[in-house]
Symmetry: C2
Subunit: 325 residues, 2 copies
């Protein structure tokens, strides 16, 4: 594939595919666009969990066994904070803390989240652009029968136990896509948009909720291909399947396809879901069936390569179809 690629990305699963993409595409051909709906202010610090997960994954610093945070992390700050009676429900590692302190310092000095993110990722040796979806605050709120919960309260504090009745994105209506996002969307050489295997409701929807983004994507004459985060009716990580069930949707690749509506041109699904391929085609969605679980770096690169090739195959039909509209 030649041309520019935008990868829409949430946390752990999405970051793995983004890692694969960075091993194939040079920095000038890739924009990694990251959800900031999970961001929150904690202990006076601006925490951007998805940006940090992407940064740690791309730089090779992430803890692959624990699945989040930094390898070799220590927790002495948390121990001291607990001794002081501070809020200890959200773990901040000693190394990780430097990201939050530096980010908060930059934002307080009037820098944009995009600017701060560029500086922090560059310092970690990341050459590909990592761009927040928006420089304005958008906050994912989980609606439950017992009231609303901020995303991290739901995800970390309550371990996703409360039954969700809905999701909303506070601040989205007055947010704008970040300048880097707008620039990438407007590139004449844009060749594909890859929706990484991140939670559709909690990681990708905040990106789509930013005014103008959904329409800009729908108007593109380039293929939009998602990698399903749901395999065999289950999410590899996180509450996607639980959330879908609570919202009255049977978790599966068909539900993912339906959720994204007509936005996608192709959906990469795991071999475990091969029986759903025909139903996806009936939904006007081209499926690619492959091994989509990424255990190793090689898995990440292979899945990224297959996804890019799949998008390239769809380029001509997509252009033809859009031109006919």
């Amino acid at each position: 594939m030649s041309g520019h690629v935008i990868a829409l990305c949430g946390g752990v699963g999405g970051a793995k595919l983004a890692f694969g993409l960075t091993r194939i595409l040079p920095p000038e051909d890739l924009t990694i666009l990251v959800n900031t709906g999970d961001d929150f202010e904690h202990l006076g610090l601006h925490v951007s969990p998805d940006i940090d997960t992407v940064a740690y994954t791309l730089s090779g610093l992430s803890d692959r066994e624990r699945g989040w945070g930094l390898a070799g992390e220590t927790w002495n700050f948390m121990a001291a904070l607990k001794r002081l009676g501070g809020e200890a429900w959200f773990n901040l590692g000693d190394h990780d803390l430097a990201m939050h302190v530096e980010r908060t310092r930059g934002l307080a000095a009037g820098e944009s989240l995009s600017h701060v993110t560029t500086a922090l990722t560059a310092a970690l040796g990341i050459r590909h652009p990592v761009i927040p979806m928006s420089d304005q605050p958008v906050r994912t709120i989980i609606q439950t029968a017992d009231g609303e919960l901020g995303f991290q309260r739901y995800f970390v504090g309550e371990q996703c136990r409360p039954v969700a009745t809905g999701v909303r994105f506070e601040g989205a209506a007055s947010a704008r896509p970040s300048a880097g996002f707008q620039t990438a969307l407007a590139r004449r050489d844009l060749a594909a948009v890859i929706v990484c295997p991140s939670n559709p409701y909690l990681s990708i929807d905040p990106i789509l909720a930013t005014p103008g983004v959904r329409k800009a994507l729908a108007d593109l004459a380039t293929p939009i291909v998602a990698v399903s985060p749901i395999i065999g009716g289950q999410a590899l990580k996180g509450p996607a399947a639980k959330l879908m069930a609570e919202l009255g949707v049977t978790p599966g690749v068909l539900a993912v396809a339906r959720h994204y509506g007509g936005l996608l041109d192709g959906l990469v699904i795991d071999t475990a879901d091969r029986d759903d391929a025909a139903a996806l085609r009936a939904f006007s969605l081209e499926p690619l069936v492959t091994d989509s679980v990424m255990h190793t770096d090689d898995d990440r690169v292979r899945l990224a390569r297959e996804t890019l090739a799949f998008a390239a195959e769809l380029a001509w039909p997509v252009q033809t179809r859009r031109a006919a509209l």
Copy 2:
């Protein structure tokens, strides 16, 4: 001695005597009044070095070999901050950081520095009141031939190398003594004020610069006794002697006495300075000659006990003299 004691205190040396006082006096009989002129905003965090030194010393958590900070401290946050290109000239340990984050969080939530300090010291198991001199910001500024330096820039960043031409206390004119300080000064059972062996120019002067404090102290009918931080013309720690020389004063106990003017009733000096005792008396200042270097906890308690006994001896002459004014 019966009645209440106020200890005016800076960092390391002062904290050692304060520790001794807490081992003799019950919490209701002691107010430890701490300099906040060293406070500064760093990386968006409110750092109160003298309060923390006092807190760590009183709680037994301080690193006695290094002379500052916490025993068993780790520096992983600093390593990560350096990797990110953050400001690394001021070392913040991983455990220590919890104090600054909690303090900053409390202040941002509208709590006073006094309130935050009470909560933090209580969490560390300290039963004696540790009170900041003021809840308003007062910042010690070192004047040099090459311009002005904030205290920590001078003390830590420049390792006290610049030649000082003067010291000023930014914000002092509009600051008020903290409520806890005012209450302690107004106590009818006030029996003594102890000026701990802290830097007169940098640790005690900021306290005295707060409007009303010097007069309130001068009006007291109770003895005010200082322990000299200068022994044999040298400071045990810190830049006191260097600063005195730069300001045109020969470092020594006589210079300390002169610096405090008529404020003191007694001065505790080391046996190394016994030859200056007569000159102090000529200065209307009663000397107590003793071993004033505090190596061990026993040294701290003994010096505190001797200082309290010395103040008690001075109570009657002071009352008589003040009544005659």
